[in-house]
């Protein structure tokens, strides 16, 4: 039922955000992964769940699940993947250049 998935997605958001609020880069990016999953689940749920067959036209079937959210999620998965890849490489570079992966040490308020 939709509410359960909503709660699940909310938990994914919560844990994802908790991770984002951490100081280590790996955890932060893990967090972004989690919230992306949460977002995708939300999109799916908003299209109502399990109301018909998978959206592939077949003989004799008249009720299909909502295809639009699925298309939107696909687009979003691909985009998130692109971003995740880039942010992983960026974090690698940043950690190497600044010799730390602790975001707290990367405040950089010295150049005012």
């Amino acid at each position: 039922m939709e509410f359960i998935i909503c709660i699940l997605a909310g938990i994914l958001f919560a844990t994802g955000i908790y991770n984002i609020l951490q100081k280590q880069m790996l955890r932060i990016i893990l967090g972004t992964g989690l919230i992306s999953h949460g977002a995708h689940l939300f999109i799916l749920t908003m299209g109502k769940l399990k109301r018909g067959q998978p959206p592939i036209l077949t003989e004799g079937v008249s009720r299909y699940t909502d295809p639009l959210p699925q298309a939107l999620i696909l687009t979003s998965i691909v985009i998130s993947f692109g971003i995740t890849s880039l942010i992983l490489v960026l974090s690698f570079r940043t950690a190497k250049e600044n010799q730390t992966d602790n975001m707290d040490q990367l405040r950089g308020t010295e150049h005012e």
Partner: protein, 491 residues
């Protein structure tokens, strides 16, 4: 149906792809980039002319009827923004050759640049909310590329923060779209507007509107969400800073303007009044930021925030005078921020440092730059007869007409402080005793584009009368969603 509406998106896309292949040959890339910028300018001009003649142009991609397919909507507002973008693009591309540095140019700078423009154009022209999300991602991804490739320690660090915060707001954006879809069953903006009107924005719709506002406000660098912006705009090279400052935040405020004049206009007592508070706080905290630092690039970056505050003020007051003012101020700010970022970039280059405390007397060696800075400062601060004044005039008059005195007074005070923050640069950097800066550097690549941009600003101000009919027409359209809905849905 007119392909013209999608041309400003296709041109930069093609440009980006071509330039990705020619990146090894720098001189060729420069030439191609410049040609494409002129092509884009021509397309923008033609688009504007067509819209002026025949009204809003709509393109249904793939031939799929609205509201089922994705549509591009070139109404007067969008067309005007595309035109402004085109001028800025041309200025930046011509400046890039001398400013960016060959290593960056080699590493796909022009490709990323044009991909960013693709995203910006798309955001201005789209009539579909999810499509807006996709275009946001395009422009954000290109901006991530521009800010990370070739970056040093400091820039990488700021880039991490920039990416993270924008990533989060993107996820929030897509989730909010899905919530909206659950209620209204569509992602086409005109149809959403129609359906929201049908139920008079009841129930959870206002909450979703607020969520969307926070998403756009993060992108637009409004209070209290702008932390990612100042450092990340101040650190890259001047052309990147200029294009970021002129375009990226403006896409955010444009989205707010569009969404909160077309769709969510039925609880203005809540939403638009809140805007006034946020506008005022943005002005105050933004200008405090500009006054707090001696880094010339940061001063200009912080100045973005009060400017966005002013535009939001116009949206919050929501009458004809103030909306005209918002649109006018938006255009004015796009020009002047580009010019100012290039100016302080030139200044930092000439002085060898961004720290104002270490500068002085530069007017002896660089008089042209000094006077350009002087004029630009006054344009920004809203001194007549320049465009900054006309924009503020319209906004403040709208505010006074509406009885919103507090925000008007804050606006006036902020103008004074904006003047102070930039005239400091002139007094401490250009006046005074010259310090030792090594050999005199050539500012050739900077001066031309800066002058063109300032000239546009001046024309915008002194020749304001030419723009008034267009502005009136735009604000009328913004106040009446039916016009937009009808031109799209045609039923």
């Amino acid at each position: 149906m007119s392909n013209l509406a999608v041309l400003p998106i296709i041109i930069p896309l093609v440009a980006g792809i071509v330039l990705a292949f020619t990146h090894k040959k720098i001189k060729l890339s420069r030439g191609i980039a410049k040609c494409f910028s002129l092509l884009y300018l021509a397309a923008a001009g033609f688009l504007n002319w067509q819209v002026h003649q025949s009204g809003t142009l709509v393109l249904e991609t793939g031939g799929w009827k609205a509201p089922y397919g994705i549509i591009m909507v070139a109404d007067q507002l969008s067309a005007l923004l595309i035109m402004t973008t085109a001028v800025i693009v041309a200025a930046c591309v011509f400046a890039a050759a001398s400013v960016v540095g060959e290593r960056m140019e080699y590493h796909y700078f022009y490709a990323f640049f044009y991909f960013l423009i693709t995203g910006v154009s798309g955001a201005f022209l789209t009539g579909d909310l999810f499509n807006l999300f996709v275009f946001f991602e395009v422009l954000l991804m290109a901006s991530y590329a521009l800010i990370t490739v070739g970056a040093g320690k400091v820039q990488l660090r700021e880039a991490m923060k920039y990416m993270l915060i924008n990533l989060f707001s993107s996820v929030l954006f897509v989730t909010a779209i899905s919530f909206l879809y659950a209620v209204v069953g569509t992602v086409n903006m005109a149809q959403i507007a129609e359906r929201v009107q049908d139920v008079q924005q009841k129930g959870i719709l206002t909450t979703i509107a607020v969520l969307l506002f926070f998403v756009f406000a993060t992108k637009a660098a409004l209070f209290p969400l702008y932390y990612w912006m100042p450092k990340s705009y101040a650190v890259p090279n001047p052309v990147v800073s200029a294009i970021f400052g002129a375009l990226l935040t403006k896409v955010g405020i444009y989205s707010i303007l569009r969404v909160f004049s077309l769709i969510f206009v039925y609880r203005t007592d809540l939403t638009h009044d809140a805007f006034l508070w946020i506008a005022g706080l943005s002005m105050i905290f933004g200008i405090a930021g500009a006054l707090s630092t001696s880094n010339v690039k940061l001063i200009i970056a912080y100045n973005i925030i009060p400017a966005i505050g002013f535009i939001l003020l116009g949206i919050g007051v929501f009458n004809q005078s103030s909306l005209s003012g918002s649109v006018y101020y938006l255009i004015h700010d796009m020009f002047i921020k580009t010019a100012l970022f290039l100016i302080v970039g030139a200044l930092a280059y000439a002085a060898g440092t961004s720290n104002l405390k270490k500068m002085g007397g530069l007017i002896h060696d660089y008089p042209v730059l000094g006077w350009l800075m002087f004029i630009a400062g006054f344009v920004l601060a809203g001194i007549p007869p320049f465009s900054g004044f006309i924009g503020k005039f319209m906004l403040l008059r709208g505010a006074f007409e509406n009885g919103d005195f507090a925000i008007a007074i804050i606006g006036l005070l902020t103008s004074l402080l904006i003047l102070y923050s930039v005239i400091r640069i002139f007094i401490n950097g250009f006046w005074g005793e010259a310090k030792d800066y090594g050999e005199r550097k050539s500012l050739k690549g900077y001066i031309g584009p800066i002058s063109v941009l300032l000239a546009c600003s001046v024309v915008l101000g002194v020749g304001a009368e030419w723009f008034m009919p267009a502005l009136d027409s735009i604000s009328n359209q913004l106040l009446d969603p039916e016009i937009y809905i009808k031109s799209v849905l045609k039923e």
